[in-house]
Amino acid sequence: MSTQHHQRNHLSELEAEAISIIWESLENSKNPAILFSGGKDSITLAHLVKKALYPKKPELPLLHIDTGHNFQETLDFRDAFAQEHSFPLIIECVEESIKRGTVKEPTGEIPSRNALQSVTLLEAIQKYELDLCFGGARRDEEKARSKERVFSLRNSKGEWAPDNQRPEFWNNYNVLKNEGENFRVFPLSNWTELNVWKYIKAESIQLPSLYFSHNRQTIKRGTTLYSHCKYIPLKKGETPVQRTVRFRTVGDMTCTGAIESKAREIDEIIQEISLSQTTERGNRTDDQQSDTAMEDRKRRGYF
C-alpha cells in the first residue's frame, strides 16, 4: 500500500468517525451549538457539521465567545463564514460579563482575558439553554485533553470531573443526562494537527489569513512573539519589530504567539508542521501558567 493511499484512508476514517459522532449528538440534543473561535479546528468542525447535515441546511448556531482581544482578521472571517455557510451566529462578549461584574478585568504586563472566557461561555450556555456544545478540541493538543471523552458530561456549573468520567464502550455513547447537566462533544478528538491540515487541503477549506505567512509588527517577550497591539502596553524602551510570521493557533492577541515562517501555501505549512519540533500550543501562554493549567481551566468549565 502506498503512503499516499494510507494517508487518504486514515483521513476518511477520521471523517467518518466525526460525522457519526455529529449525528449521534444532533439526534440526542434539543438545543445544540457549535463553539466557534474562528480557528482552524472549529472551522473544520463546522465544515463537518455541514457535511453531516446534508441535504438539510444547518440550523444550529455558531457560538463565539468574544474576549474583545481577538485579531480583527478572525472577526471578519467569522462573519463571512457564518454568512456563506448560512449558520446562525451568536456572539457573547467577555466585556458584558465584566460589566455584569461576574468577572474582573485582569491587570499586569499582559492582561489576558483568556481565563475569563469560561464564565462568559457558561453564562451563554445558560442564557440560550444549550444542552450540547460541539467543540473542536483534539486529544493530541494537550495532556489533559488526551484524557477527555468524546461526549464530555458537565454538571450544572459546567465543571468537568476528570477522575470520574462516564466510560465509552465501542461507539455506543451514553448521551442521557439529568436536569441542568449538559454535554461538550468533541468530534475531532482523534485528529492530530497534521490530520486537520491535510483535511483542510483535501476539502479546500478556507481559513483566516493569520495562518499564512505575512509581515507584522511584533514584540518579543521571553520566547513568545506577540503581535503589536493596543492590548499589550509597550514596556519602556521596547519597540515593535517587523517580522515575517504566521500563527499556528488562533486565540487572543494577548496569549497567542506567532512563529517566524515563510509558509504561504497549505503544502508549505504541512511541510513545516511535519518537521516541527514543538507542539502547536507551545506558543500559547495560557497553557504555560502551570503544568496543569489546561486541566484546571477545564475543571472550571473551559472549552
Partner: protein, 408 residues
C-alpha cells in the same frame, strides 16, 4: 476502503509492568513527541531525567498517585501506518476504563514483567481481550534489562503464554522481549537481544495484518438520522458490515420491505458505492417506516429478532444489580426497557468464581438472559460487534452501569 491504514492498540498489564513507560518510549523514539513536551517532563523530574510514563499520565491525580487512572489517547505515525495508542490503567479499581480501551482496540499489547512471569492477571486480561473480540495480541515481555537480556527467562514465559492462549481465538499472536525503560527492541533493533529472530516492536505494529470480519461480510447498516425532503427519504448511517452500491435493493428489518438506493452521498457529493465504516447518507423513495435505529440488510440476507437474548455482561457500577428493577438497554442506536431476573454464571474480573445466588456488583462478569418487552433485532457479538454489543443505563441517575455482548 481498507482498515489497515490505522491501527488502534491498547496497552494492558498489571500495575508497574511499564505500560505508560512503553507508550512514552514508542512516542519518543518514533519522534512523535515534541521538544517543548520533552523539556516540560524533564523539568518535573528532580534530576532532569526523562520519566517516560509522564508522556501518557496527563492528569494531576495520576501524577500524584504515580499510576494511570483513565485511558490516555496518544497518536503516532510512520510512513506506512497511523497509530492511535490507548494507554489504560492496570489497577483493579479502574478496570472499567481498561474495558473502554479494549472495546476500541484492534490490537492488544499485553505487558508482562520478565522477573514476575505470567501472572493470573495477565491470563485474565488475555481472556477478557478474547471475549471482547480483539483479534491481535502481542505479549511484551518487559524489563529484560533486569535479567541481562537473557534468553532463558523470556523463552519460559513465551512458551507458557502460547500454551495458555492456544484455546483463545487470536488470529495474530506474537511475543517479544523488550526493555521499555532503555528503549531496547521497541523502535530500534538491539544487539543485546540478538537471539530474538524477529523485528522490533514498532515494526511488528506496522506490519501486523489487520483484517476485520465486518469488512467482508453481508451488508448491515442502522439508521442514525432520518430526514424527509421532497419525495425522498435520506438515511444517514455508518456501514456496519459489507458494502452497498447505488441502484441496489436493501431490506428494512422491521417491515421486511425492500427499498432501492437511489443515491449515496458523502457530504454533498454523490458517490457510487459505500464500504464498511463509511458514514454516508442514502437516498430512497419516501417512506414512513424508517426511524432512528431501523436496521437494514442486503437482499438475500436475513436477521433475527428476539425478546429474550442471552448475553455476557460486565457490571461496572458501584451500585449492585437489582433483579426487580427496569433498566435501559442501549443497543445499536435503540433504547429499550430491559430487566434481568436471574444470572446463569458469575465470575469476578479478578478471576474468582462466585456463587450464582450472590449479588452482582462492580467488576463482576456474568451470563444472563435479557428480558425485553418487545423483540429486538440483533446479531451475536462474534458475528457483528455493532449489532451485538450494548450498554445498560440507570433510568434515574443516567449512569452507565454495564457493558455487554450478545451470545449465540
Amino acid at each position: 476502503m481498507t482498515s489497515a491504514s490505522t491501527l488502534r492498540f491498547a496497552t494492558i498489564g498489571s500495575v508497574d509492568d511499564g505500560k505508560s513507560t512503553l507508550i512514552g518510549r514508542i512516542l519518543y523514539d518514533s519522534h512523535c513527541v515534541f521538544e517543548d513536551q520533552i523539556q516540560k517532563i524533564k523539568s518535573l523530574s528532580p534530576n532532569g531525567s526523562l520519566n517516560f510514563a509522564l508522556f501518557a499520565d496527563g492528569l494531576k491525580i495520576e501524577r500524584t498517585k504515580g499510576m494511570t487512572v483513565d485511558v490516555a489517547y496518544r497518536y503516532a505515525r510512520t510512513p506506512n501506518r497511523s497509530f492511535i495508542l490507548l494507554d489504560s490503567p492496570g489497577h483493579f479499581e479502574y478496570t472499567k476504563n481498561m474495558l473502554c480501551a479494549l472495546t476500541n482496540a484492534d490490537l492488544l499489547l499485553l505487558l508482562a514483567d520478565v522477573t514476575q512471569g505470567i501472572s493470573e492477571q495477565t491470563k485474565r486480561h488475555a481472556i477478557l481481550a478474547d471475549l471482547i473480540g480483539v483479534k491481535n495480541l502481542i505479549l511484551c515481555v518487559n524489563k529484560m534489562d533486569l535479567v541481562n537480556y537473557a534468553k532463558e527467562p523470556y523463552k519460559e514465559i513465551e512458551s507458557e503464554f502460547f500454551e495458555f492462549s492456544n484455546h483463545l481465538n487470536f488470529s495474530y499472536l506474537k511475543a517479544i522481549p523488550i526493555s521499555a525503560l532503555h528503549g531496547e527492541n521497541v523502535v530500534y533493533p538491539t544487539k543485546k537481544i540478538a537471539w530474538y529472530p524477529e523485528e522490533p516492536l514498532l515494526k511488528l505494529l506496522e506490519n501486523c495484518p489487520l483484517s476485520k470480519q465486518e469488512e467482508h461480510s453481508e451488508l448491515r447498516f442502522t439508521a442514525q438520522r432520518v430526514t424527509h425532503k421532497e419525495n425522498s427519504l435520506y438515511i444517514s448511517a455508518t456501514i456496519q458490515s459489507g458494502e452497498i452500491n447505488i441502484q441496489e435493493n436493501v431490506v428494512n428489518s422491521k417491515t421486511a420491505k425492500m427499498h432501492k438506493i437511489k443515491r449515496v452521498y458523502l457530504g454533498d457529493s454523490s458517490i457510487d458505492r459505500a464500504y464498511y465504516k463509511m458514514a454516508v447518507t442514502l437516498e430512497i423513495g419516501d417512506s414512513e417506516d424508517v426511524h432512528r435505529g431501523t436496521i437494514f440488510y442486503g437482499q438475500g440476507s436475513h436477521l433475527f429478532s428476539a425478546d429474550h437474548i442471552r448475553a455476557k455482561i460486565f457490571w461496572i457500577s458501584k451500585t449492585p444489580l437489582d433483579f426487580n428493577k427496569d433498566y435501559l438497554l442501549q443497543m445499536n442506536r435503540t433504547l429499550s426497557k430491559v430487566s434481568i431476573k436471574r444470572v446463569n454464571s458469575v465470575s469476578s474480573i479478578d478471576g474468582s468464581e462466585k456463587n450464582v445466588s450472590t449479588t452482582i456488583k462492580e467488576n463482576d462478569l456474568f451470563t444472563t438472559t435479557l428480558e425485553l418487552p418487545t423483540p429486538l433485532f440483533f446479531e451475536p457479538y462474534k458475528k457483528n460487534k455493532e449489532l451485538g454489543s450494548f450498554i445498560l443505563i440507570d433510568p434515574e441517575t443516567k449512569e452507565t452501569l454495564a457493558a455487554g455482548v450478545c451470545l449465540t
